[in-house]
């Protein structure tokens, strides 16, 4: 099979076959991470640049390590200390990076659609590392890899996404990806944090945790963005934790072997209680490992298999 895309911008437009190919390729990549010498020469001489307009620790370092394990060279642009502070536009920054012969540009931006614009402007390959509240494809792919590894597949699986759906790109990418693979996806949270027309994406909406988490196979807990409280979207952190924070009591209504995911960073004791976070159902640290493997798979698929020109055509 051939992965024909120039860029990976979201789960919305990936096909089932493409998602399977990415997840299948991530498996041997994970094995490489267990070796004493965590490096293969596959992408030797290729350059990967991370361009992050928003803060990040795990996604950026995950991409950089993924590129390095595959033998590529990496460079990261921190916006706070870059020419963006002098007023350089996204387009000019992109053109500059391209002039330095970047093969892949990994971008995170607060504006939805910024990676899509970038992908049109440059011939380098572009991977979306999060754009506004739109998509975060590699997070969804690593969540799906973890689910597939633990549950064996997606068909008929009940997956609950718990928390602030409105502001979450992780939620959107997961919804597009998981529904495509045949899972039953439900979103659970307060009405003020769930967009009114979200059913159109093929999910069920629950405002009550007891109904929403009943008999689910997977709970993906979203980070509650504390600044949202200032906008009056929920009365107090304490109340949110009481009604929607995942604790042992709420876990009881799910399937006995429920898998608990969290994209991180975790607000310990707010959206998830410490005993659940550190408990046997959670795979939060494994998600981080799987994130590197999935990003290695994407970089491999984007940078091999034919000349750039014929693929982007």
């Amino acid at each position: 099979m051939k992965f024909k895309r120039k860029d990976v911008l979201g789960l919305e437009d990936l096909t089932v076959e493409e998602i399977n190919l990415i997840l299948d390729t991530a498996e041997p990549m994970k094995e490489i991470m267990t070796r004493d010498i965590k490096k293969v020469p596959t992408l030797r001489g290729r350059s990967v640049i991370t361009l992050f307009y928003e803060p990040s620790t795990r996604t950026r370092s995950s991409f950089e390590l993924a590129a390095k394990y595959l033998g590529a060279d990496t460079s990261s642009i921190a916006i706070a200390t870059s020419s963006v502070q002098k007023g350089e536009s996204l387009r000019d920054t992109a053109k500059t990076l391209e002039a330095m012969a970047a093969d892949v540009i990994i971008i995170r931006h607060s504006a939805a659609g910024a990676p899509h614009l970038l992908a049109r402007w440059v011939s380098a390959r572009v991977i979306n590392a999060g754009d506004g509240a739109h998509e975060h494809p590699t997070q969804a792919l690593l969540d799906m890899f973890t689910i597939r590894e633990k549950k064996g597949g997606f068909q008929g699986l009940k997956v609950a996404i718990l928390g602030d759906i409105t502001h979450s790109r992780v939620a959107r990418s997961n919804i597009w990806g998981l529904t495509k693979m045949g899972a039953e996806v439900r979103v659970v949270g307060p009405a003020t944090l769930i967009p009114p027309d979200i059913e159109r994406l093929g999910v069920k909406v629950y405002y009550d945790w007891e109904e929403g988490l009943k008999d689910v196979d997977v709970i993906n807990v979203l980070r509650i963005q504390l600044e949202r409280q200032k906008k009056g979207l929920f009365p107090s952190i304490r109340e949110y934790t009481k009604l929607y924070g995942l604790d042992q009591q709420k876990l009881q209504v799910a399937k006995p072997d429920v898998l608990v995911l969290h994209p991180g960073p975790v607000n310990r004791g707010i959206e998830i209680s410490p005993d659940v976070q550190d408990g046997p159902h959670a795979a939060i640290n494994e998600q981080v490992t799987n994130g590197v493997a999935v990003r290695m798979a994407l970089l491999y698929l984007l940078m091999t298999g034919g000349e750039k020109d014929e693929i982007s055509a």
């Binding site: 099979m1 041997p28 990549m29 094995e31 091999t304 298999g305």
Partner: protein, 182 residues
Amino acid sequence: MSPREKVQIMDQEGIRRALTRIAHEILEKNAGTEDLVLIGIRRRGVPLASRLSEKIKEIEGTSIPLGILDITLYRDDLSQLDYHPLVRKTEVPFSITGKKVVLVDDVLYTGRTVRAAMDALMDLGRPKLIQLAVLIDRGHRELPIRADFVGKNVPTSRKEQINVSLVEIDGEDKVTIVEKDT
């Protein structure tokens, strides 16, 4: 030979005898099974390595470690291929440092696969030595590589293709030679 006509050059018995001889040769050359490990190159080197390990066990009564090597990420033609070779898992659940490694593959041709396999091995550790066992050596080397153990030498033209079928993968044991369409 008309195009696509298949000529069988080895049958089930032929393959069995060749592997039995190679097993004896491996033991003779290495004076037993001490520090010996077998590593099959995906795909058809894997069942061949497994069969060799069984034969060695029959002869010597000792089991030797068996590994699987996927060399896709070490290929030198990844940027030229117009498809994605599926990357599979390398499964070498033991240290190869200080070991006598016998690499096993079905066909030795240009030598590029073996070059990739040796690079992959070096990234897993520092073997004491590496030897190469192949079922078929068809010539046309592009690198300075030779096999230590050969089932059958088959002089070929570059227009021909050698097809190795093995029960574990293809349902039957045979080696055929085919004229490629050009």
